[in-house]
């Protein structure tokens, strides 16, 4: 009895022998015909690290997992993460430990900042995007945004999944005319103290808000497309800090406390603590109204002159153990069926990356529905501002921490 127990304890604290390297190497996967990849994927278990903070998205991923199980015999496990950076640190640790082909992460839902970091360190597998049959439905040559992430060319190391744009929302019964630009926002906040805030930096949405302010306040926005090292960072960013210094005393909790992220921001709106909030997912307000989280009188809009927007992607780590399965999954995410379901505000409401002109009429129909009153007007989402170069974001976050992080 005691020996067996000691063994169990040893298993818990000691090693399971290193996993033997898998036969097919990465290169052959990139050259194999698609049918061979699908065959190879059958029976694999794909660990997909994706932010797990939104139940609607989690349910959508659950639906995806069921479809893949039905059609490809592929077991998809959604590894819910708080911050994808945690997953990346795991991959870095795996490489440090010499684990080059049996990594624990097969697919990552990644943001531009982390994409830049991972690509720079050669932590990604690829280029695989053009190998996915459904990738052509995005019409990449007409829609260059599916080939760029965070101003960096993706070079096929990421596959597009959805679209996002900074969208503001408010309760029309409490607020008649919402602020249309950043200077109106400041004066509005002065008149309505405690009714606006933004998520704690470096939360993705919090950082996005800072970028939006920076874009609106900087004298020459063109400098933001270039690496920060070529410019006097303090001078360029000074107007941003002036703006925030003026704004913070009028924020929710006097700017001494910040919500953790988009979901909490939404909850504060639902509770009536805030009168105005924003999201990076244009369909979120409408979905939240359906979910009873926001009042039925919720309306959304985009600032005049446009807001930041981008495409979000999935990537495969260099050492993923089930690359074939990950590719099959990424391809399914681009299918008209999966994209149309994702767009449905009762499901998630994330805009499609597919180019409607590439779809059959029947497929297109699935994308067309009635516009929910809480959705932004159709033309609003045309005014997309480009992301600043990632180096600015690093500087932004670091300085924010110094100025407000320890409040």
């Amino acid at each position: 009895m005691s020996r067996r127990f000691v063994l169990a304890l040893a298993l818990a604290t000691a090693s399971i022998a290193p996993i033997p390297s898998l036969a097919a190497d990465a290169q052959s996967l990139l050259e194999a015909p698609w049918s061979a990849i699908e065959r190879k994927a059958r029976g694999q278990t794909v660990y997909w690290s994706a932010w797990g903070g939104d139940p609607a998205i989690n349910r959508y991923i659950g639906w995806v997992a069921e479809r893949l199980d039905e059609r490809y015999g592929l077991d998809v496990v959604h590894v819910k993460v708080d911050d994808i950076a945690t997953t990346i640190s795991r991959i870095v640790a795996e490489r440090a430990a010499g684990n080059d082909d049996a990594g624990n992460v097969d697919l990552l839902w990644i943001n531009g900042e982390n994409f830049a970091a991972m690509k720079e360190r050669d932590l990604l597998f690829g280029p695989f995007a053009r190998r996915l049959p459904n990738f052509s439905l995005t019409a990449p040559d007409d829609n260059p945004e599916v080939l760029t992430d965070f101003t960096l060319p993706t070079e096929g190391y990421e596959s597009p999944w959805g679209k996002a744009q900074l969208t503001f929302y408010y309760d029309a019964e409490r607020l008649e005319t919402p602020p249309r630009n950043m200077s109106e926002l400041l004066s509005w906040a002065r008149e309505h103290p405690g009714r606006f805030t933004y998520p704690l930096v470096p939360d993705f949405l919090g950082t996005t808000f800072l970028k939006q302010v920076l874009l609106s306040q900087v004298e020459a926005p063109s400098v933001l497309a270039e690496p920060a090292s070529r410019h006097d960072v303090d001078a360029v960013m000074a107007p941003l800090w002036d703006y925030l210094d003026a704004l913070h005393p009028h924020l929710w909790r006097q700017g001494r406390h910040f919500p953790s992220g988009g979901p909490e921001l939404k909850r504060l709106m639902g509770d009536g603590e805030l009168s105005l909030a924003f999201t990076f997912n244009p369909a979120e307000p409408a979905a939240a109204v359906t979910d009873h989280q926001l009042p039925p009188s919720t309306r959304s809009y985009v600032l005049e002159g446009g807001t930041l927007g981008n495409v979000h992607f999935v990537a495969i780590p260099f050492n993923a153990r089930h690359k074939a399965g990950a590719m099959v999954l990424a391809n399914f995410l681009l299918s008209p069926e999966a994209q149309a379901r994702k767009l449905d505000i009762d499901v998630w409401g994330d805009p499609s990356v597919l180019d409607m002109r590439r779809l059959e009429a029947a497929e297109r129909e699935a994308f067309e529905g009635d516009r929910h009153p809480a959705s932004p007007p159709p033309d609003a989402l045309q005014r997309v501002l480009p992301e600043p170069h990632p180096s600015w974001v690093e500087a932004l976050e670091a300085q924010w921490q110094v100025r407000y992080g320890d409040s």
Binding site: M1, S2, F5, A8, L9, L11, A12, T13, A14, S15, I16, Y47, G53, D54, P55, N58, R59, G62, V77, V79, K80, V81, D82, D83, A85, T86, S89, R90, V92, A93, A96, A97, N99, N104, N114, G194, R195, L200, W252, R253, R256, H257, F258, S260, G262, P263, E264, R267, G270, D271, G272, E273, V289, D291, H292, Q293, L294, P295, G405, D406
Partner: protein, 568 residues
């Protein structure tokens, strides 16, 4: 069958090993990286750099202050309220009601209680809705910072409310040992009022008996994660939360800092214990005169007033917090300041149903397996006491408390560093063993009294009738102790269901339980869905206790003496 006795005699060794080894290995696994040594992460030189980095962390002083303040304040408040509650109500009719109300609250997982409290007291919470706008004039939620206030008051309050049932039940178990009833009667006969009689006549004898549980409260309160994530401030958070954040930071150097932070947490917790211990010394010196001053009624009315107020307030807040969870789980859009959600909808329950399967099944399987291991070891240890004919020594008793006396974040993190160093896959077995570690002390504490008190003549009669030790154990002792064993199992299961950090760290984030889901959702997410998860998290232990209460009644419905409880 000598093999039975041999096997039983190894049980204490195995149990103590299960308790000591992970804690020691874990601490060792933290010390090396804290000083730079962790080859898998590229740390191959010994250095103090990570301590410097830790020292330069902005807000570090605030983090330490928060941990110390919330830990000591909540322990002090818990102790004060429990002592006054006992003084006011012991041996009164109301006491039965209080006991019946508080005992089930012990099984409420920390996270669920914290979520309920946050929902209750947040500016748009049930409490402010009830007074708005007719009394407060608030049309919109007021702009105050709670939970998450930078002093940590919300956190201290949450910890206090959750620890009151624990300390009260520990005290109730200890009261007979110090002959509280007789002491109270004696003091009352000498003319002391209820409060004075308890504080002067019973408490000095009771305190040493509840000292260890109280220390466990301090350790938990200075180093907990999930309550702090839900109720504590975030800029900066209490030290333990910061350590967990560093552990998950993409920058690998932060892992070293996390290790140093874990050791610092160990020091902070030890510091809190030291402060408490010095306080004990001071109070016992100051109180020496007071005990002998002969005043019998001084402060009697005030004491009773505070005693009943705090007791009923604590119960009321906990119950309101749980009731709020139910309301939120059924609420449609529920604008401020309406106090009742209308219309009610099952939308959130339906939504939750799709994602609930995995966390529910892992919570149940881990809980059952960890409880089974803990029960087997507990029974083994107690039966071994019978064969050795003496109870566990004081050292062994202390070891039983070890996982509760060392901050989780300190040694669990070390176990994770071992995992990374050795390349072990995180997952179900590791999490389950981790849970067993924290379940074992509770099953032992829960069962030991009944097991030890069982009349030795039962097994003497059985043995003299020719039954072997194994037969006596299996056919006499176990069946006769069905009820307390099931209760110990329910306690263990409840403890496992409530575990957060062992699941997150040893499961490598891959394993979700109701608790991890509830905590994740609570940090942002949808109130309704969070409430559903918290209610599920709460329902599991409740089901466990209900089964533990009803199964014996069902099994023994034709055995009257088994139901009357005088079989021990």
């Amino acid at each position: 069958m000598p093999s039975f006795v041999t096997a039983i005699r190894t049980a204490p060794t195995v149990a103590l090993a299960l308790l000591i080894l992970p804690v020691l290995l874990g601490l060792a696994g933290v010390v090396a990286p804290a000083f730079g040594w962790h080859p898998a992460l590229g740390g191959e030189t010994w250095t103090l750099a990570h301590w410097q980095a830790l020292g330069n962390t902005p807000g570090l002083v605030d983090m330490i202050r928060l941990s110390l303040f919330t830990g000591l304040a909540s322990a002090l408040a818990t102790f004060g309220i429990v002592a006054l509650c006992l003084a006011t109500f012991l041996e009164t009719r109301a006491f039965g009601a209080i006991r019946r109300l508080l005992s089930p609250l012990l099984a409420v997982p920390h996270a669920a209680a914290a979520i309920g409290l946050a929902f209750l007291l947040t500016p748009s919470g049930l409490a402010s809705r009830l007074v708005s706008p007719w009394l407060s004039g608030w049309v919109y939620p007021p702009d105050y910072l709670f939970p998450g206030d930078s002093l940590g008051l919300a956190l201290a309050l949450g910890l206090t409310l959750k620890e009151i049932p624990f300390l009260l039940l520990m005290s109730l178990a200890a009261l007979p040992q110090c002959r509280a009833g007789e002491r109270l009667m004696m003091a009352r006969a000498l003319g002391y009022g209820r409060i004075n009689a308890f504080l002067k006549g019973v408490l000095p004898a009771l305190y040493p008996l509840i000292r260890l549980p109280l220390y466990a409260v301090i350790v938990f309160a200075t180093a907990n994660i999930e309550v702090a994530m839900i109720l504590g401030p975030s800029t900066p958070p209490p030290l333990a939360v910061a350590v967990v954040r560093w552990l998950g930071d993409p920058d690998l150097a932060m892992r070293f800092q996390a290790a140093a932070g874990a050791l610092l947490q160990l020091g902070v917790t030890a510091g809190a214990l030291l402060i408490w211990w010095l306080g004990e010394r001071l109070v016992s010196r100051l109180a020496a005169g007071w005990l002998r001053d002969g005043h019998r009624l001084r402060g009697e009315r005030l004491g009773r007033g505070i005693g009943s107020l705090t007791t009923w307030l604590a119960i009321g807040v906990l119950v309101a917090a749980l009731a709020g969870l139910i309301l939120w789980s059924l609420a449609g859009y529920w604008p401020f300041p309406e106090a009742w959600p209308a219309p009610l909808t099952l939308h959130a329950w339906q939504q939750a149903a799709t994602g609930l399967g995995d966390p529910l099944s892992s919570t149940v399987t881990i809980g059952l397996a960890a409880t089974a291991i803990a029960l087997v070891l507990t029974l083994g240890c107690l039966e071994a006491e019978t064969h050795r004919r003496r109870p566990l020594g004081a050292g062994a008793q202390l070891i039983l408390y070890l996982p509760l006396l060392v901050p989780q974040v300190a040694f669990l993190q070390g176990l994770v560093q071992w995992q990374a160093q050795i390349g072990l896959t995180a997952g179900w077995p590791a999490v389950m063993l981790g849970h067993a570690l924290f379940v074992l002390p509770y099953t032992f504490l829960s069962l030991a009294e009944s097991y030890r008190r069982q009349d030795p003549r039962w097994r003497q009669v059985a043995a003299s009738l020719g039954a072997s030790p194994a037969n006596v154990f299996l056919r006499i002792r176990l069946p006769m102790l069905t009820a307390p064993i099931l209760v110990a199992g329910a306690v263990g299961f409840a403890v496992s269901v409530g575990q957060y950090l062992p699941t997150v760290l040893l499961g490598g984030g891959r394993l979700t339980t109701l608790t991890t889901e509830a905590v994740n959702l609570a940090s942002g997410g949808d109130r309704r869905l969070t409430a559903v998860y918290a209610l599920f998290q709460l329902a599991l232990p409740a089901i466990g206790f209900t089964l533990a209460m009803t199964l014996p009644r069902l099994w023994w419905r034709h055995r009257r003496q088994m139901l009357s409880g005088d079989t021990a």
